[in-house]
Amino acid sequence: MLNTLVLVMVMYNFIFMNLRVLFIVFVLVVSCKQEDKIKAVSSNIEKEQVVEPKLNVEEYNFTAFEKFLNREDDKIYVINFWATWCAPCIKELPHFEKINETYKNKSVEVLLVSLDFPKQYEKKLIPFIEKHQLKSKVVALNDPDSNAWIPKVSEEWSGALPATVIYNKDKRAFYEQSFSYEELKAEVDKFIK
């Protein structure tokens, strides 16, 4: 039963991978002992975003998320893995915001990938984004089998947060560390010709 559901979820993700807005659909499954909430990530067409004015965070499993790590256009992507409960992440977040703002005209795009637990999206993540008025794009990565996907982000990554990937279509760098603004700027500058 569970396996079938997971399969269906994965298929959904494949089919709708190119659509931008993902919504969470709750499916109630009655198991032998208790009711378990199983979350399925489904998709909706873009115009529905207008109907829903409330801030919404796109949620991805790793298969659907992977595209953000493999863009092949002319931009430089700065992908930061963080969470609202991760103190060193919060401390360095303004530096990423500043990069996103200052390097806009240099084709640099920052993506903040939250690893907050799904039950914290409403309570912690969304209020945090609103409070700090984050301008960089924020997505949520929810894929508990991290042993399967951490090496796909980088073979060097032990799994500790924060972690950052900077890449363009020609090269790629990975950092399991915290950044000062100067350190981050220096790394981004290496990608700018």
Binding site: S146, N147, G159, A160
Partner: protein, 206 residues
Amino acid sequence: MKKSIKIVSALAIVLLVSAFTLNKNNINPGYQVGDIATDFSLKNINGKMVSLADFNEAKGYIVVFTCNTCPYAVAYEDRVEALNKKYADKGYPVIAIMPNNPEVQPGDRLEAMQARAKAKGFTFPYLMDSGQKIYPQYGATKTPHVYILQKTKKGNEVKYIGAIDDNYQDETAVNKKYVENAVDALLSGKEIKEKQTRAIGCSIKV
């Protein structure tokens, strides 16, 4: 002469800078599977010093770097306790080590560790890595981070490094119990199938 001084100093700067950056990117990865792990003498929450060598009957150890304050570590508290209940009598006790600097992370002070252990009924030693000397030798980068050791003639050999299982969110949805599988293999003299795994965790606070 002047030129060579320039070259030498330029080289020195390059070396310094690269040493600095490399260091940040984990040039010292700590133990690999097969290495011999160091023993230690660390203060337990009851005030007594604990070493691996104190466990005469043990066949090995499940060393877990963990803490009070990391949500991933918290998510695994009950599972770590369950591991100790299941394997301490079979010769593989859990030895938990709190690697964070409590001055940076007050929620991980000794009193907080004592309170947490009491509230959760921990039956394993919960040790403070005072001065943060042990975790870098093991190469732990985050909490929770597990090292399974086996007593051998050479010393305590690292047999497994990594995660507890493959689902931090939901214990009932776990497919692979990495630590249990590894200890079961050691107990039955079989080869461990997955000797190294990874999981998201909180960086160690220095």
